[in-house]
């Protein structure tokens, strides 16, 4: 039976983890490679890096991070943040990323998704959707949640599936950072309308939130803070899900 995935996400800036696990025994708490290794040894089903490097001159730092991590971690590695072109995707894959997550570029030009999924295969193209409630639906935002687009999130999800996306990483901007749980209605709507896997993101504060995320129809749950701050380990999360009869890899 296919297991539901738990994906810890690390925010990386200028090649360093800015929001990471605060373990005292870490030799270098800012080293993304070391943190990724802790997660994969702890049973993470995938690792996600979100590159939040703002300046262009430091953009290349992520490539080195990915290259080093992929030599130490033998679980799938997804990298997102600032991915604009086929060339960016190619570089990340060549460095050892297994999947690339694309947000702004997918909204601005859906051809990037069509072309990249044809060139590299759907399996490595993840479209990241940042959505915020508006009226009786959800609107998507680009540029790390800064720019409204007027585009309906549910329609966009469906369009991205048709363009060849292999997975959708859906983040609720209303919930992100609140630790009050995923936007379950959003996850349900998108999971039920597309036939590709959905990764739920944004808002996890407790292990029950992960359970709710899976029950909403998502195939995987992504979380940052609860793992970063050591509230729970990945293994504890998995044991909890298993105790609630949710199939996970242990």
């Amino acid at each position: 039976m296919l297991k539901n995935r738990i994906i810890p996400c690390l925010d990386v800036k200028n090649g360093r983890v800015v929001k990471g696990i605060n373990f005292v025994d870490l030799q270098d708490a800012g080293d993304p490679v070391e943190q990724a290794k802790i997660y994969s040894d702890g049973g993470a089903d995938e690792i996600c890096f979100l590159d939040i490097t703002a300046s262009n001159e430091n953009r290349d730092t992520i490539y080195e991070v990915v290259e080093k991590t992929s030599k130490k971690c033998f679980v799938p590695l997804t990298v997102g943040g600032g991915v604009r072109s086929i060339d960016d995707i190619n570089k990340l894959l060549n460095c050892g990323a297994d999947k690339v997550s694309i947000n702004t570029a997918a909204v601005q030009n859906s051809k990037v998704i069509e072309d990249s999924s044809r060139k590299f295969g759907s399996q490595c193209i993840v479209v990241a959707i940042d959505a915020k409630r508006k009226d009786d639906g959800w609107e998507i935002f680009t540029h790390g949640g800064r720019n409204p687009t007027g585009i309906n999130a549910i329609e966009f999800a469906s369009k991205m599936e048709n363009c060849g996306a292999g997975e959708l990483l859906v983040t609720s901007m209303d919930k992100d950072g609140t630790q009050s749980g995923y936007d379950i209605e959003l996850m349900q709507k998108i999971s039920s309308i597309v036939n590709i896997p959905v990764i739920a993101s944004g808002g996890v504060g407790t292990l029950d939130h992960l359970v709710d995320g899976i029950k909403s129809g998502a195939s995987a749950v992504l979380a940052a803070s609860i793992f970063h701050y050591g509230t729970y380990s990945v293994n504890e999360a998995k044991q909890y899900l298993a105790s609630k009869d949710i199939p996970v890899r242990i």
């Binding site: 296919l2 992929s70 033998f74 679980v75 894959l93 036939n195």
Partner: protein
């Protein structure tokens, strides 16, 4: 010993290279090449494959003489080859992704889309699934039955002769996820992304 990973510009093979280097350390020489002479003279060959069946076959065909060299390596010299993902699928006679495409024909059968049962099963089949080992295979030495492996695919290999099947996985139906026919080995899952158990499978192949 020399193990060659065939580089035919079809998808992302850096994870395959990293995992083989991790397992091989200094014991085995891992080479990544499309050089026909190097492939001929190696002891074992790894055939990775990502993207579509047609894309991968086109990739093989784009290197003059590569398919002949692989045929000779596998069929005449009977040396061990491991196909991964679409690498395994290409063993078939024919694939039906995008358009009907002729495969390598090493193991008789076809590659067709997984039945998603009207949307009940999401495709691609992405994530960790258990393998049901149904025959003793050299690559499953010391691998526990029902171990988890990482999968990413929408198409499945359906061999004519069921005795080549080494393992299946349950997704919509019992999908063939590992084959062994004499010197030909293949996994539908990605051992290079399947953590410690996956590395063990790679080690088993290197140790044949």
């Amino acid at each position: 010993m020399r193990v060659t990973i065939v580089d035919y510009k079809s998808g992302n093979i850096s994870s395959v290279i990293n995992s083989f280097n991790e397992v091989a350390r200094d014991k085995v020489n891992i080479e990544v090449t499309s050089d026909l002479n190097k492939i001929k003279s190696s002891d074992k060959v790894v055939l990775p494959g990502q993207g579509s069946f047609k894309g991968c076959i086109d990739g093989l065909n784009s290197i003059n003489g590569l398919i002949d060299t692989l045929n000779e390596f596998v069929l005449d010299n009977k040396k061990p080859l491991l196909g991964i993902c679409v690498g395994l699928q290409m063993f078939a006679d024919v694939g039906y992704e995008e358009v009907e495409t002729k495969g390598l024909g090493w193991i008789s059968g076809k590659v067709s889309k997984i039945d998603n049962q009207n949307g009940k099963y999401k495709l691609p089949h992405i994530g960790w699934n258990q393998v049901n080992i149904i025959k003793e295979s050299k690559i499953f030495k010391n691998i526990e039955n029902n171990s988890h492996m990482y999968f990413v695919h929408s198409y499945e290999f359906v061999p004519k002769d069921k005795t080549v099947t080494a393992a299946t996985t349950d997704y919509s139906s019992n999908i063939v996820c590992a084959v062994e026919k004499e010197n030909i080995f293949g996994t539908q899952f990605h051992p290079e992304k399947s953590d410690k158990t996956g590395l063990k499978i790679i080690n088993n192949f290197i140790s044949i």
